[in-house]
């Protein structure tokens, strides 16, 4: 009970954070034959970050070709974005992880955040 309360407070707190959902995305058919699509959502609570890079990887962390509107997404502080990732059916079978990585501009020791969802 206390754990849930503490977690709820922390999740709602005004921290400097990077968030991406869903944890386990699934491929669905797109309007184009032979092309699969999945939709991801991101939320930026990092005032020091305005751009996030999207990447799709196989189970050995090798890049898999994909298409989005922008591979580097401009996401302003406290903004949400939903973006679609398209991939050929052949490549979608190989895709294991979809990741977003913060692009940094800052001083001294910076913290890069990376969140990866997994296709199951």
């Amino acid at each position: 009970m206390y754990r849930s309360i503490i977690l709820s407070i922390l999740l709602c707190s005004n921290a400097i954070a990077h968030e991406m959902t869903p944890t386990y995305p699934t491929w669905e058919s797109s309007y184009m034959e032979g092309i699969k699509k999945t939709t991801m959502a991101m939320f930026n609570r990092r005032p020091d970050v305005e751009y996030y890079e999207i990447g799709v990887f196989d189970d050995k962390w090798k890049p898999v070709p994909f298409v989005t509107s922008y591979k580097i997404i401009n996401l302003k502080y406290l903004s949400h974005v939903k973006f679609d990732v398209y991939m050929s059916a052949k490549h979608s079978a190989k895709a294991e992880y979809i990741c977003s990585t913060s692009k940094l501009r800052g001083d001294n020791v910076m913290i890069a955040s990376k969140i990866c969802s997994r296709f199951k």
């Binding site: 503490i6 400097i16 944890t23 001294n108 890069a112 997994r118």
Partner: protein
């Protein structure tokens, strides 16, 4: 008599309306999805101290500041946290000699005592330490980083601004 019939009708209609509203309420579905998620928070920015001419360190005893990363997960056994200390500068003055890098990621605080075994259960691969987040909740990690210039010959770092990056990853299992 008429009054009694009228009252009976009113009560009957009211009863029907109550009954029908109950039926309607019973037909309203409530759906929801509980979804795990991971949030990577940068609680404290790091800073290098310069205790001598050839060392840059985030250790507080040497006037540095340890970067603190907080990872929140809302479902147990859904994510791995991977914390890496820097092994190069992301920007620096031109360096003609080698830089030796050391560092360590450490769990400094957890939201529940169930997570107390995270550090001992973690694994190290190069500069990256991997933690299995087996409990829903929050974990704070600190990252120590030490850069020494001169390939063991204690040469002074050239003057200028130095930047390095700590990587905090949250990877779905």
């Amino acid at each position: 008599m008429k009054k009694l019939i009228t009252i009976g009708l009113i009560l009957g209609l009211a009863g029907c309306s109550l009954f029908s509203s109950k039926v309607e309420a019973a037909n309203i579905d409530i759906t929801g999805t509980v979804q795990s998620r991971c949030i990577v928070n940068t609680d404290t920015a790091g800073m290098y101290g310069n205790p001598n001419a050839y060392t840059l360190t985030t250790v507080p005893a040497s006037a540095g500041q340890l970067p603190i990363v907080r990872v929140d997960v809302s479902l147990a056994n859904a994510y791995h946290a991977k914390i890496s200390y820097p092994t190069s500068f992301s920007s620096s003055p031109s360096l003609g000699d080698t830089v030796a890098w050391t560092g360590a990621a450490t769990v400094v605080q957890t939201s529940t005592s169930d997570m107390s075994g995270y550090q001992s259960a973690s694994s190290l691969s190069g500069a990256m330490r991997t933690y299995a987040l087996t409990v829903a909740g929050t974990t704070w990690f600190s990252v120590a980083s030490v850069a020494t210039y001169g390939g063991g010959q204690q040469k002074p770092f050239p003057g200028g601004s130095y930047k390095a990056v700590v990587l905090a990853e949250c990877i779905a299992q």
